[in-house]
Subunit: 307 residues, 2 copies
């Protein structure tokens, strides 16, 4: 089924304890599109870049079945740029530089051919813009997934809540869930956030896995214990892309299948962090995805043994 992804396509410069990069391709929508494309076609991209953005990456997306007609290119402007340095634990980072550039005036126009997409992924963007994307859809997508971040909760909380009320699935991390709900317990936080509108909530806990909440049900997806996390950039977006792509491919929105989607999202994210930026996703094969998915199941596999 068709997936529409709206979000940033950009440059990142990353420092981790293991090394640093010059400007490399990043942006939420880059990771989401790459991850979704493992499972479903077409994946449609709406974003904006400047004249400095490498055509090679657009070709990479195209070669994986990503439709980039919705990628606006502004030849005389520069692409969004973010630079950050991760701390030793890789769980926290400092932003060194943010240059909005083209993103400062980004007002996504959804091409007519995209307006009936069946799955919609709203990558992290200004929440007003996220709602404006929903408005442009000719009919309600089967599933609308939204990512956001603490920055918008700090600066535009009312708008964040309005957008949350209009989506089916919200994906945020544990700190954001606590901030949004005012509850420390993630169980209480989830209940408060589900009451804001979305039917599903995914709380991403990085190296500690992810929780899927729906009504009174909860599912826990572990993170694979890895030898080395090389660069966490894009892991959350890769997770979301894998989650949505798997759902679009299987067309099954039951809670049971959502669990599998969470595991596939975690699987792709576990690869993403192995190298800088999108590098590992670009070399990844579906056989590797299958094999690691089974590792995820083995990690928690147990036979019921009552006392």
């Amino acid at each position: 089924m068709s997936v529409l992804v709206v979000g940033s396509v950009a440059f990142d410069a990353i420092e981790t304890p293991f090394g640093k990069t010059d400007k490399i391709v990043g942006g939420a929508a880059s990771y989401i599109c790459l991850a979704s494309s493992f499972f479903t076609k077409p994946v449609r991209l709406v974003s904006v870049v400047g004249g400095d953005f490498p055509h090679a990456f657009v070709q990479t997306l195209n070669s994986r079945g990503v439709d980039t007609q919705g990628l606006e290119v502004r030849p005389n402007e520069k692409s969004f740029f973010w630079s950050g340095r991760y701390h030793n634990d890789l769980n926290s980072r400092d932003t060194l530089d943010t240059q909005l550039n083209v993103l400062a005036t980004f007002d996504p126009q959804i091409p007519a051919a995209y307006q009936e997409s069946e799955f919609l992924m709203l990558g992290n963007l200004v929440p007003d813009i996220q709602r404006n994307v929903i408005r442009q859809m000719k009919r309600r997508p089967r599933l609308v997934v939204m990512d956001t971040m603490n920055f918008w909760m700090d600066t535009a909380l009312d708008s964040v809540k309005k957008t949350i009320a209009e989506v089916d699935v919200l994906t945020i991390n544990d700190e954001e869930a606590r901030q949004l709900s005012g509850e420390y317990s993630l169980v209480k936080a989830a209940r408060a956030i589900l009451a804001m509108g979305p039917r599903y909530l995914i709380i991403k806990k990085g190296e500690h896995g992810a929780l899927l909440f729906h009504e009174n049900q909860v599912f826990f997806a572990p993170a694979l214990p890895l030898e080395e996390v090389f660069d966490p950039t894009g892991a959350g977006d890769t997770f979301a892309g894998g989650f949505l792509g798997y759902l679009a491919a299987t067309k099954d929105l039951s809670f049971q299948n959502m669990k599998n989607a969470v595991i596939y999202g975690s699987t792709l994210a576990s690869f993403c962090v192995e190298k800088f930026g999108t590098e590992r996703l670009e070399s990844l094969t579906i056989e590797e995805v299958r094999s690691r998915y089974k590792q995820f199941l083995d990690l928690v596999q147990i036979d019921l043994q009552l006392v």
Copy 2:
């Protein structure tokens, strides 16, 4: 099968964001014995208390099948006392007061009737003393489990390593695993620690679950997402007690069964944190244990769905 527990029986005074206690019963061996007693008999306790220790708690242990002949009582001395205050996240705490009292000269003598116990749990103690307990066993127990903490790594690392080399299972938390191994990645840390001697390593991650490592295998046990963690004191000891008690009851030391033991340990620990001190464990029923064990399995249950 018989379980021998050597460790502290003591008083704690605890402050959490939810309240504070006066002196209540605590100590590693108290939690371990209570937890083990859900699964197996006899559980044998070797510890020391002062004349101030309440007989009622000893009766509670006895009523659950815990043999307290090895509990030395020194009428003219005072019991070990620890006081601490948990931070808002409940993952970290400050020690407010430590009074070693009877523990300062504790030199456990294992009664002859205990020296052929089949399972041995070395609660957190001076590592020299832990080794001395192993020496006193008439024959090698089927399984020796050791707990320790960062304090001993800071002050007696060589001795910690000597004891680790003599045990079958080491249980420590994630920060301790990192300190002991010098590796940040828990996968690398586990490999380094297993090379120090133990066949199994359990890394406890508190609200993030626990990892069981054995040779090249790894198993992940989630923590149950709880509404409220009221008091984390004793959770790790309760985990260890449940783990060991289940193994002693099932007499099966395969990796498969160790996984179940980890889940049962997690199950008991999830109850422990619901109230202050040992209160919840004392009111707990085996039916509640069974029911929550199933919740743990449901939390990660998934049907294989290949793409």
